[in-house]
């Protein structure tokens, strides 16, 4: 159950990152066309940018953690295979 909740939160964070990134790209583009409207330089966009940064950082940490776990698992498997090989050779 805990594992499932974790997976849902991780998926949600990925979608939030995609949505906020797309929003920011659109706002960045229209701000270049019409600076006077202050699409970037306003409180709401600044908060959205902060949320995007936090979600991206969390996603990055989770991805790095998952990569590390996979690498450790692969190393363990490799070590096990090598031990089996050595056992057979004896």
């Amino acid at each position: 159950m805990k594992k499932q909740t974790g997976a849902v939160v991780r998926a949600l964070m990925c979608h939030v990152a995609v949505i906020l990134s797309l929003m920011y790209l659109v706002l960045f583009f229209i701000d270049r066309v019409n600076t006077a409207m202050e699409f970037i330089n306003n409180d709401v966009t600044k908060i959205l940018l902060a949320v995007l940064a936090a979600v991206s950082a969390a996603n990055a940490v989770i991805t790095l953690g998952a990569q590390r776990r996979q690498a450790l698992l692969a190393r363990k498997k490799q070590a096990k295979k090598q031990a089996e090989k050595r056992g057979r050779a004896r």
């Binding site: 949505i19 797309l22 929003m23 006077a36 330089n41």
Partner: protein, 356 residues
């Protein structure tokens, strides 16, 4: 419990794009659509009763040529007497009628003469240059003399100060009883930049835009962002101040070639601008644009045009769909897509007209 099969990636991405669209609509609503009445800073700038010192620009600090020297085309002479600050009756004695109001239109020239106003609107095809060559575009030059500074007035949409408050120029002009009305700087689309209207400081936040100020003594000056501070402008006796621009003429009255704005604003567009000749004598310029008949003007062409009129200072107001000129009860320019609701306007009114 069986694990759910995840939806295909493309489906998830399409859902994300749709949610992004909805989020942007919600953002736009809160950013600039929802009407929000703001609190004015409520600083009343009184009409001076004695001549004040002509304000000097603050020293230039920016290295960008677009932000360099201030346009400070003030005409200190003749200094008004203590009791006629902002009154120009003595300057142009032959311009105003003794009592009658003469008004009409002849061959594309609209005129209005009264004891307080002398207005001439000339509709012409002006030659403008762009990178693709020379072309003709429709221009409306409103040349006017005012007896008193209060004849050059401003108004806000629905008579309220705020963001997301929009109204048709026609409605604002009719409420103000304006003889001539043009759109303002669309202050309501931004949260920063000086807003001084009819001697009241509404907003003093600094912005990266050039500012244009008309002082109570009738002097108009334009400033680069590093040269203006709203509180100082108020202290110096500002009567009207806009922050959009950019300014079109430099400190020597020469047309500028580098402008403090974005590429989109510099390009050929419908335009509204205000020009200054001397205290009490100004002009509005409205340019139709974005049609095959009249393509509008680049900022460079507009600067050349204002220079050609003999202006000493000139400032670009909001353009595009906002650009509109009203003569009494009718719109005489051809606003792009029939115009749009705007947040503020500039009027020529008879003194004593009820202001919103």
């Amino acid at each position: 419990m069986r694990a759910r099969v995840p939806r295909p990636l493309w489906m998830q991405l399409i859902a994300d794009v749709l949610i992004t669209g909805i989020a942007l609509v919600v953002f736009a609503y809160f950013h600039h659509v929802r009407p929000t009445q703001l609190q004015s800073e409520n600083v009343i700038i009184p009409r001076p009763t004695a001549p004040a010192v002509t304000p000097a620009p603050t020293p230039e600090t920016a290295s960008d040529p677009a932000l360099s020297p201030a346009v400070q085309t003030q005409t200190p002479e003749p200094q008004p007497a203590a009791n006629d600050w902002g009154s120009f009756a003595g300057r142009f004695p032959d311009k105003f009628t003794s009592g009658a109001v003469e008004s009409g239109e002849e061959d594309g020239v609209y005129y209005y003469r009264s004891p307080n106003l002398d207005i001439t609107v000339t509709v012409s095809r002006a030659e403008a240059k762009s990178t693709s060559g020379t072309y003709e575009t429709t221009c409306y030059v409103t040349d006017f003399y005012i007896r008193d500074i209060s004849c050059l007035s401003t108004g806000m949409a629905k008579g309220k100060y705020g963001t997301g408050q929009y109204e048709w120029l026609k409605d604002m002009a009719s409420r103000a009883g304006a003889v001539v009305a043009i759109n303002g700087d669309f202050y309501g689309a931004r949260k920063n930049g000086v807003v001084i209207r009819n001697g009241e400081l509404f907003r003093s936040n600094h912005s990266t835009f050039d500012a244009c100020v008309i002082y109570w003594d009738g002097v108009m000056a334009t400033y680069a962002p590093s040269q203006w501070d709203a509180k100082t402008l108020a202290k110096d006796g500002a009567y009207q101040a806009w922050s959009f621009g950019p300014r079109l003429l430099d400190e020597n009255g020469q047309p500028m070639t580098s402008f403090n704005t974005t590429k989109a604003v510099k390009e050929r567009n419908p335009r509204t601008a205000i020009g200054y000749f001397e205290p009490g004598h100004y002009c509005f310029v409205t340019v139709d644009g974005r049609t095959t008949e009249s393509r509008g003007m680049t900022l460079e062409a507009l600067a050349e045009f204002m220079y050609g009129l003999g202006c000493k200072a000139a400032y670009n107001l909001d353009g595009g769909e906002s650009s509109c000129l009203m003569w009494q009860d009718s719109v005489i320019s051809k606003p792009y897509k029939d115009g749009r609701k705007i947040s503020d306007a500039v009027f020529l009114v008879e003194p004593g007209e009820v202001q919103p």
